[in-house]
Every structure is written in C-alpha cells, then in structure tokens.
Amino acid sequence: MKFLSKQISKSNIWNLDWITIIFFTLISITISIPLIYLNGIRLDEAQSIWQVSHSIPEIFDIVGRDVHVPFYHIILHFWQGIFNNSIISARYLSLLISIISIPFVYILASKLYTKRIALMSTIIFILSPFINWYANEARMYSLLLLLAVLNSIFFIDILKKENTKSWIGFIITAILGIYTHYFYWLFLISNALFYLVSYKQFNKTLFPKFIISAVIILLAISPWIYYVISLGSAANTKPALQAPTSIDFFNIFSQYIFGFQPDIINSIILSSWPIIVILIFTSLQRKFKYSVFTTFVIFQILIPIGLAFILSYLRPIFLSRYLIVSSLFLYLYIIYLINTYFSKQMTILYLVGIFLIGLSLLLQIFSPYTPVKENFEDIAIYLTVKATARDVIVLSAPFTIYPFEYYYQGITNVETFPIWDRSKVSSIPSFDSSKIEEQVNKIKDGHQYMYVILSYDQGYEKELKTYLDNNFEKVEEREFSPDLTLYQYKLNL
C-alpha cells in the first residue's frame, strides 16, 4: 500500500506540474491575444508580411538578399494562404509556435536538471516579457527558439542514452534551425564546443557520429549558401547597427529578464549589476554539485552572446532577438542556481523573481515608453485624415515605408529620404550629404506641406532635420512612440 501511495503521489506531482504549466500558459495567452490586436505593426513585421506576399521563388530571392533564411517565410506564406495576409494572422502563428514550445521547455529542463527546476523555469519562460514580446511578433524568433529547444532535447538524449530517433530528431531540427535564422549556427557551435570540452564524460562512440551529423547539416545548408552567393548582392533594407558597447552586452541580459523597459528603468537595472555578484557569492552552497549539463547551459548563454559581441566589431549584428535561444538557458541557469539555496531562501528569491518579472511584463505591455513599440498605425491614421493630395509624406529611414504603407489609407504622395524607387532597385541608396538639397527640392516640388516621419536613425537624421529646420517653417512636431516623430513643414510654393 505504501508503494502504491508513493506511486500515486509521484504521479500527482507530475500532473500538478502540467496543471500549473497549463494555468500559466492560459494567463500568457490571455495577455497575448489582446496584444496581437492592440500593438501596431513594427518594421520587421511589415517586412515579413510584404516578403511572404510573394511567390515561393520570389520569397527565396527577397529573403536571400535580405540576409535571412527562408524556412519561417515559407511557413508564413502558406499560413497566410490558409488564413489571410494580415499582421493578426501572422502573429497568431508566432503565438502558436510559442505555446507549443512551453511543454518542450519543461521537458528539456527536466532532462537537464530536476522536475522542480523544470517547473520553476517553465513558469519564468511563460511569464518572461522578452519571450512574450516575440511570441506576439510576426517574425521567426519563436520558431527559432522552438527548434533550439527540440534540438537540445535530442542532443541531451543522445548524450545520456543515444538512440536512432534522437539522432534523426537532432539532425532534422538542426537543419530546420539553420534554415530559420543564421544565428542558429551560434547555438550549434555552442553544442559542439560543449561536447568537445566534456567528451570524456560521454560515450566515445558518439564522436564520429557527431562528425557525420555535422557533415549532413553542412550538406543540407550548402544549396542555400550557393544560392545566396549566386544572388550576388544583399538588399540592404535593414537598419544599420552600431558596434556594441559593454552597456549593450548587459542590456541583453536585462532584456532577457525584464524585457524592454524605458531608459530610466533600464539604467537602474543595469547599474544594479553587483546583484550578480551577490548571487555568485550566496550561491556558494555546499550541497551545490556541479553537473556537466550546467556547462552546457552556461555555454548556451555565453558562447552565442560572446561570439556575436566579438563578431559585431567586424560587422554589427548584436541584437538580443537574434540571440533569443540564450534567454531560455539564462532562465534555466538562474533557477538552477537558486535551487542550490536552502528551501526557504529559494522560495523567497523565486517569488520575488516572479513578482519582478510579472511586473516587468505588465510595464512592457502598458507603458507608452516601452522602447520597442513602434506606433506606425497611429501616425498613418493621423496622416490619412490630415494630409491632403497637395502635400507629401517623407519617411526616413527609407525602410520604415513598409510598416507605414501597411496602415496608410490616404491619398498623399509618400516618399522616402534618401529617395528610394523600390520598383527599380532592391537596395536602399546610401546617404549623400551633398545631395540633401537636391533630393529635398525634388520631393517638395509642387507640394504645400511636407510631413516628415523620422525613426531608425541611420546616422543622417540630425543632418536632414537641421536642413529642414533651416529652410522651412516647422508647423508641428509630434512624437507617436519612442524614436518615432512626425514633423510638419510648410513649403514655399
């Protein structure tokens, strides 16, 4: 009887975990669905929608030139075909993928550590403002994360007790992952490095099999690499990034835990970095037993971020969303660390953590100062009503025309600065200081008012604005969201 009750008790705990996960998932969905409708389209999303509205060969061409890989775009293309070509339906796809990830996060964490750590980290994952943000964005990041989680599960299975299914799963998810985002390579490199530094602890026969799977993965991506090289040029339709600083480095960790917060809150979070030292000191507990899989978790946090940081000095690529996989492993590591504390301290720390993360999520959702919010919708509606056929709307940087066009229903002529004729060239023309006057004159000719929308400064925003301020009368200035401002100038007819 005792044995039976033990079994039932174990089974109950297991079920209780899933009930808890389902409960928090429902909370997450409840929060996410209104956001899908409420948040305006963002630049990247507008590009996704525009890209997948083409045929498959065209998608290959556009995505290839856009320095991306096509797996997500193909899925979204068919998804939009079944439903409709709206941002709402595209966001539902991301949400669906994100929800599918949740049980796999739990499974991965329980394979790495214990069921308790798995439950605790899955709840953090569900409530994470960062994960929530990309669960609602019509981009490939939730898919990237799902494939990384699945691949990690197969990888751990192979290391613990290899079987054919795990190898097949490992190779398939690796191939799909590298066709979802180029940064998936960093994840795979971290896997490989972890294996290389700890191979002595695993079955020696695995090494040649990993070599073979690496060859298969490389062969699988080679057609795409060949195709991209044959295209000859990149589209240059993305914001130019700056080389990262130490602040950017820590910002990534801050974003992973607290999401996207206004500058004042973010600077307080960053200044409190000695908290990490407190955690390091207090996590020195004698029951703490270092597991080899903790090295795996640490590698998955530090190697992708570290490599991206270093590579960014060659070509700036340091964006937290590209490194979304590391966020999950950061949650796992933090939960693992606090599990080394005594029960009482651990519970207090965890509850404080949940409270802060939940609060950050609410702030991110409701604060108008959330830095990543791009209110192209309101600005487009405003100008639909206000601007007339005698006026001209100018967007700078030029690629912001995608989200603006998505919402704009008016009759006013829309231009970009620098002038970009998308029907003729796929790449955005570079800025030339000596041509400001010429290009502005070309745009303004025959118009009464010029509505200039400035966002995503590419290094020439200030120069353009100074020129306009010096030559035209500014009638109105209005900020619609952080870094998205409308200026109205009266033109001399």
Binding site: I247, S271, S272, W273, F342, S343
Partner: protein, 520 residues
C-alpha cells in the same frame, strides 16, 4: 521541498580536490587580465580611492595566484611503510579543560592500536591557575597513564610540550589537544610515513565533530574545510604543510634541531614548522580524519581563537619573514607567505567596504569609466574565482565559510595592530564549553557600517535624488551587509537555536559513517 544530500562530513572535503589544470590556468589568466585591465585601462577617479582599490587588487591577485599554485596538484606521493612502527609518546595538552573532555581523549588515546606507546597528560592546570589540575592527576592515575604537571609557567602550550620533551625520551611524539579524540588507528596510519628519515612531522586534519552544534561551530568548520582539504593537500605536495597544534606526530630530532617548540610566538605550531622546514626536514599531510575535536562553541571563543591565529601568522610576516629564510625552498617561502598573509585580507575587505560609503558622502569614486565596462571584466573574474574555490574543495566551500572569513576583518585588523604596536597577548586556550552571552559588541564595527550606510544613503538621496549610481552603490552595500550578516547573527545567542535548525536541516540526513570507534 527539502533540499537534502547525503555525504560523509569526515571525507567529503578531503576527496576529489584535484581541479583541472586547464581550469586553473584559465582562472589565473582571467585574474591577471582583470588586474591589468583595472590597473592600466581604466581611468582613475579620486587618486586616493584608486590607490586603495589597486592595493586591494594586488593583494587579491596574490591570493588567487598563490591559491592556484597551492591546489595545482593535490595528489599525495609520500613514502609510507605500514610496518614501520617505532615507539611513540602521546602527549595530551591540558590546561583546565573539563575533566570529562580530557577523559574521553585520554581513553581514546590509550585505546589506540599500536605496538608500543605511552600516553601522557601534559597538565598545565596548575600554572594556568585552573581548579581541576589535581583532578587531571587523579584521572591519569585512574586510567593508568602518565601525568606531567608543570609548576613553573613559561611558553604556554609550546612550553608545556618542551617541558614534557625534557622528561621523556622516545624518538617520536604525538600531540593532541585535550578535546581532540583520536581514532584507534591514528598511529597505524601516521607512523609509517617516518620510514622516510627526513620526515620531521606528520599532520592530520583538525575535524570539528560539533560543527552542527550552532552557528559559530558551523562557521568555524566551513573555514577549516577548505584549509584541511585542498590547501593542506596542495601544501603536502610542495613539502610545506605546517603544524596545526594538534593531531600531529613529530620527530624529536627535528624539533630539537628547530630549537624546540617555539615559545616566542602565540601560534607556536606555525613558527615551529617554519624552523623545522628551514632545517631541511620534510612534512607530511595525511588527508584522513584520524581525530575528532571541538570547534569553539561560542562567539567569544571563536573570536579569541581567530585573533590568536591571526596575530601569530602576521608576526611571521613582520618578524620571521619566510622570504628571507635561506633554509626554505622557494615553494615553501611562497606557501608560508600565502598562509600568513591571508590575515591581511581583513584590512583589504574593510577598505573595499568603505568605497560605496565614501561615494555616498563625497561623490568620489576610484574609477570613472562606465561601470558596465568594469562589470564586463569583473563578473567572469569573480565567478571563476568562486568556482575554483568550490571545485577544489569538492563543492564543500560555502557562502558561510566565505562570510566568516571576510567578516573577521576586525579580528585581523586588531591582530595587525597588535603585531605592529608590539602589544603582548597571552596564549589563551579555546574554550571547550559554550560561554553564554551576547557578543554583538564584538561586532561594533559591523553595526557601525550598517548605520553609516543608512545615513549615507539618506544623505545622498537628500542631495541628489534617485540616480543610477545610487543603485550601484546600494547594491555594493547590500552585498557587504549580506556578507557580514551570518557573522552578526552568530554573535546573537537568542537567534542561534532557531536559525540553526533551519540552516542545518540537510545535515540531519547525513549518514555518519565514522571510522572512529572509541572504546570507553
């Protein structure tokens, strides 16, 4: 939700202490890079504060590098012959300890399994003016062992042993403190090392069997584990183990050559070891608990014990600096200096603690660069240093050990002052029974720190409002308070029992598989 692990507390800290050499090199490199970065690539703010910071960093780098060198190789290669079993005298040093405690040790010593040995109670109760000195003599009679009672005081414990050496004649002698109960096989497992004729003494761990008794005993033991684990095993490799005053076997000839047990230093064992080594004798560390002792049971006793060790060690730096001792090898010089200089860490910690407070009151900082740049190098550095401490201690080194070490800064500073000013401090025996009372007054400096921090935060808020710098400095202050908190708590008797029940819950599940079977 109970976190429990099963382990044998007598063996856990002595096993699996060898760290990967790649890891050790990696930690050394990261530490050096961090030091170079902080020293040469960061813009100094206030030059006084910058100077303080750099002095601290130099000291920390020294500690890390010397620690890495110490634990580089912890695998023993000493020659041992179990058949080698010369005659031995066993000395139990006594100075007024409760008779029950002495009796337990004496019986255990008598029960040791070994061909030929004599047990002596070195009774200093008379010279120490303890009431029970006659009881000790009676105990010796009852047990059929010897008792040597001194009537003329000199040289404290060292003098007591030297006095016994004059009245005995065997080539080897063992020293046990009155509260350190030997295992039956103590002699069998130690004497075999003297087959190597150059071995001058053999030391075994000083295990505290009462380490779960209260916060003080627990804190004291957490510090000991690291020392008697990886550190002593590493020192053994470089022939640099020093005597720890008890649970040790010594060769009479080696001690005679060293001029007897040193009576001029408050930590006689440490200095005697130095003299023995400088005469070319070898030392051996046996990484096995072969005797069980008692940790100081109250905060006052702990305080006195730490002061004695700190003062004795610091005296070595200032009066017998190993660097200038020609008889020592380079490795031995480094090891003695590393151990002695540990007690300088108190003043470094205090200075570092003051930096955020100075900022709150004056706005002065040691470094003016973005604190995120500093974080970028500091976090991996401190993480790796902490990891190597855990790894080399087989994951026994805990925050409590660290907190007790760092929070002892006032003891270290007082000891430093005593050495520099030439104050005379008598040898005091660590109390074997708990002294009740509130010892929070001993931590007046810690309490002052908390109070000044609170005032400083209010002062800064009044003048500057909420800024990012305020948060950074508050976080440092919180870290410092978290570090001193266990020490403060241990000095409050009212909290001891309740808190301990919680903090030690995992230890209750530990199976005690002691190899000590003592006949009574």
């Amino acid at each position: 939700m109970k976190n429990t692990v099963s382990y044998n507390p007598r063996t856990i800290f002595l096993t699996n202490t060898q760290s990967s050499k790649t890891l050790l090199i990696g930690v050394a490199l990261v530490s050096i890079i961090y030091f170079i970065f902080i020293t040469f690539f960061i813009t100094p703010g206030n030059y006084w504060l910058y100077g303080i910071l750099i002095v601290g960093e130099v000291f920390h780098l020294w500690q890390i590098i010397s620690y890495i060198i110490t634990v580089w190789d912890t695998k023993a290669t000493n020659i041992y012959d179990k058949k080698f079993s010369p005659k031995v005298d066993v000395f139990i040093t006594v100075a007024g300890e409760p008779i029950e405690i002495i009796k337990e040790t004496a019986i255990a010593a008598k029960n040791m399994i070994y061909p030929e040995f004599e047990v002596y109670l070195l009774n200093d109760g008379f010279v120490a003016k303890k009431d029970n000195w006659k009881d000790v003599e009676q105990l010796a009679k009852d047990l059929g062992i010897h008792c040597i009672t001194r009537k003329i005081p000199h040289g404290a414990k060292a003098g007591n042993i030297n006095n016994a050496l004059l009245q005995t004649n065997r080539d080897y002698f063992v020293v046990f403190d009155a509260d350190h109960v030997p295992a039956k096989d103590f002699l069998k497992k130690t004497m075999g090392y003297f087959i190597d004729k150059k071995v001058g003494f053999v030391q075994t761990p000083q295990y505290y069997k009462n380490h779960t008794q209260n916060l003080v005993t627990e804190g004291a033991w957490r510090q000991q584990e690291l020392f008697f684990g990886a550190i002593c095993k590493g020192k053994n490799k470089t022939n640099s183990v020093f005597m720890c005053g008890t649970n040790m076997v010594l060769k009479r000839e080696a001690i005679r050559e060293a001029g007897g047990m040193c009576e001029t230093n408050i930590a006689e064992d440490f200095l005697t070891s130095l003299f023995v080594h400088s005469k070319g004798w070898k030392s051996v560390y046996v990484p096995e608990v072969l005797a069980e002792g008692l940790a100081p049971e109250d905060f006052m006793s702990y305080y006195k014990q730490q002061f004695r060790w700190a003062r004795g060690s610091l005296e070595i730096i200032f009066k017998y600096n190993p660097l200038f001792n020609r008889g020592l090898s380079l490795a031995q010089k480094l090891q003695y200096l590393a151990s002695a200089s540990y007690y300088l860490s108190g003043i470094i910690f205090l200075l570092n603690m003051l930096l955020p407070i100075i900022f709150l009151f004056t706005g002065n900082v040691p470094l003016v660069n973005s604190s995120m740049i500093i974080a970028l190098v500091f976090i991996p550095y401190i993480y790796l240093v902490m990891y190597i401490l855990q790894r080399s201690s087989n994951f026994t080194y805990s925050f409590k050990g660290l907190a007790f070490s760092m929070s002892s800064f006032m003891i270290h500073i007082q000891a430093l002052w005593a050495v520099l000013s030439g104050q005379k401090n008598g040898f005091s025996i660590t109390s074997k029974t708990q002294v009740s009372g509130n010892f929070i007054h001993l931590n007046w400096m810690h309490l002052t720190y908390v109070a000044i921090s609170a005032i400083g935060i209010s002062y800064y808020l009044y003048g500057n409002g909420i800024t990012a710098s305020l948060f950074a400095n508050i976080t440092w202050i919180i870290l410092n308070i978290i570090i001193i908190f266990p020490f403060l708590r241990a000095s409050l008797p009212a909290l001891q029992t309740n808190e301990l029940n919680q903090s030690l819950e995992y230890l209750e599940t530990v199976p005690i598989n002691s190899n000590l079977t003592i006949d009574k």
